[in-house]
Symmetry: C2
Subunit: 434 residues, 2 copies
Amino acid sequence: MKINIPESDKKRVVIVGGGFGGFKLAQMLARSKVFQIVLIDKNNYHQFQPLFYQVAMGGLEPSSIVFPLRKAFQKRRDVYIRVTEVSSVDTVNRHLVTPLGICNYDILVLALGANTNFYGNEKLAELSIPMKSVSEALFLRNKILSDYEKALSTTDYDKRQGLMDIVIVGGGPTGVEVAGALAEMKDFILPKDYPELNCEEIDIYLIQSAEQLLKGMSEKASLRALEFLTELGVKVKLNTRVADFDGEYVHMNDGTAIRSRKVIWAAGITANQIKGIPAEAITFGNRLKVNRINQVEGLGEVFAIGDMAYMEEEAYPKGHPQVAQVAMQQGKHLAENLLRLQKGQPTLPFHYHDLGSMATIGRNRAVVDLPHWKFQGAFAWLVWLFVHLFQILGVKNKLFIFLNWVWNYATYDQSLRLIIRPRVPRTGEMEVEQ
Amino acid sequence: MKINIPESDKKRVVIVGGGFGGFKLAQMLARSKVFQIVLIDKNNYHQFQPLFYQVAMGGLEPSSIVFPLRKAFQKRRDVYIRVTEVSSVDTVNRHLVTPLGICNYDILVLALGANTNFYGNEKLAELSIPMKSVSEALFLRNKILSDYEKALSTTDYDKRQGLMDIVIVGGGPTGVEVAGALAEMKDFILPKDYPELNCEEIDIYLIQSAEQLLKGMSEKASLRALEFLTELGVKVKLNTRVADFDGEYVHMNDGTAIRSRKVIWAAGITANQIKGIPAEAITFGNRLKVNRINQVEGLGEVFAIGDMAYMEEEAYPKGHPQVAQVAMQQGKHLAENLLRLQKGQPTLPFHYHDLGSMATIGRNRAVVDLPHWKFQGAFAWLVWLFVHLFQILGVKNKLFIFLNWVWNYATYDQSLRLIIRPRVPRTGEMEVEQ
């Protein structure tokens, strides 16, 4: 069965993944009106990953940080959006296999991003909580809140501590931001909501395998982040790895253990895979080897961008960092190259322009590394806010996030503390599968 | 096992249900500081039912129309909130059985509200979509959107119509409001989001068993609501009942059938039940017979308010309508009477003051019946907006709903068209049970 998309005179570019890379590429190509574009994503929305942690902490609603794909491309008649998974790719016959049917392509761009890496530990994969989608962020929110509800009815001291304490694994931006936000929740919100609990006793642990936090950033940023977290009462353990988790105790490689039912896993990512890509093209972290125009090794019509792609550049001999900036720049650059190829013009090699990186730890506490200026503290925090506000898609989202932030800042409150349990679909109602 | 709530010198009032009635009662009693109050709800939030339909249509977020119970009672030390279901009541020993333990009471107030009534039709109960919680409203939102996604890949004409057409059962305020909102979605949003579908072909049916819509309202309101819906293209079938639904076809009692996979059921309610209440106290609609101070027949310390209660009053010989106004007034009145009883003063009989009723059908289209003034149209619509805005709990909710409404009105858009699928809890993670 063929997918229900009309054939066109234009070449068909199929983009798998509407994240930072795929979305940018689709936007640029749609404007040029040269190709027929098929954008496939398992969700009907684009997600803004840098703010997942605020959804998890009840500071923002999911709807503020995602954007409906159909709305983004409402006025583009050559763009066909399909909400589905991709089962496999057939690079010989140039088509994708999907539950909606076979989708042929002239050009295929893989932009599936990356998912949580549990490094083969199945127990951790099953019992810890990742943060790579808004669904997972919402799940974490519900989990935190319902564990405090449970703690109220738990009279056994140790068991109650297990419900109250939280272990975060991974000292990158996500881990640092979650730890900071939880520490503020402990200080400002939980004592008001749960006067029956002794919130002083809540321990928040941040476990980092390296000897500093925020490894990709400057030493100054790492040190200040550690200082900020310590000020907020977070127990940071450097040079420590989580060896195991049985649902009740988290065991470290140094032999110590922490009783906690909640392990938030932000310790690494691995590229999403797609069946049918030749093994030769796959390298470490499941990334696909691409040349300087993001063409997958050995496959003329297949391109990969963003977290999935492994490209060696002079300044980045071990590949680019797997961050949003790279994905967006590659999406934009690939759009230009596809148009050049179409016009018979020579392609241009990709160069990554590092615009800097930043992380926020809490109210008035952030660290910012710009190429020529590194700073920390209240001003960095303001810069962080405005950079993120600027990047988020949609005027309404910007407005609502801004208002939420002002509100949360003024009231010391994150008011979305709602355990909204989805009604479970009944027989014949599974709206998930297509 | 006893529930983990400290004993107090004060009498313990246990309120089951944080809806309009229970919430109002808890608020009033908390202010007086005379009792120890235990508020039990299966959710950690109070829901504003009149706006569920806007959540279902993607116009508002759930968080805007619910309010965290803990936040509402943050400053009340004598209020203990427990998020749990109630298994049964033991009126002899004066306690509730809950999964969190036995909860004894001096005074028990049942305010569990009502749920959807499928009149014993199990197929309808299984396959149609009710709208009595935000979870159900979100489910409906996801269902509508994912059915349009499916329609894109469905080449069979009839099958596609089944995915696109929608049947709403029940011509009360909910049915009328949903029908109107869907009709506007069909006109303003779907053609932009789904240019591949012929949205002209979407049929929206409203099935009403009586010979007019909005039975509790004035004749003028009923007629104008019918006019408004007809203008919007809704196919209203009066004097018609849904006899059966097999998931593909909706069969009417007049022998006709409509192919539709979506039946929204807003055709009646039945009071929520609680085990342990003597059968003598239960009357039609599962309501509990109460006297003029909401005391359940034959049970001195047990009270029932709101949709659950059946009270005969001079002006309402067949009981009060099951609406928010009655619940709130009874909650407030019962608070006064409980305080009077505590002080040894005589109680006062409840009188319902009907403040009027209203329903909105779409942009600039609403009907309002006030005791001495009935009007319809654009001004009624403005009145509807401000009355609802005024009633919603929380300044932030008011602000965000107002902004959403202004935005939606100005852009002809309901931007929350996101199918956010909950991450399914894995083994050992079921945060739902306590």
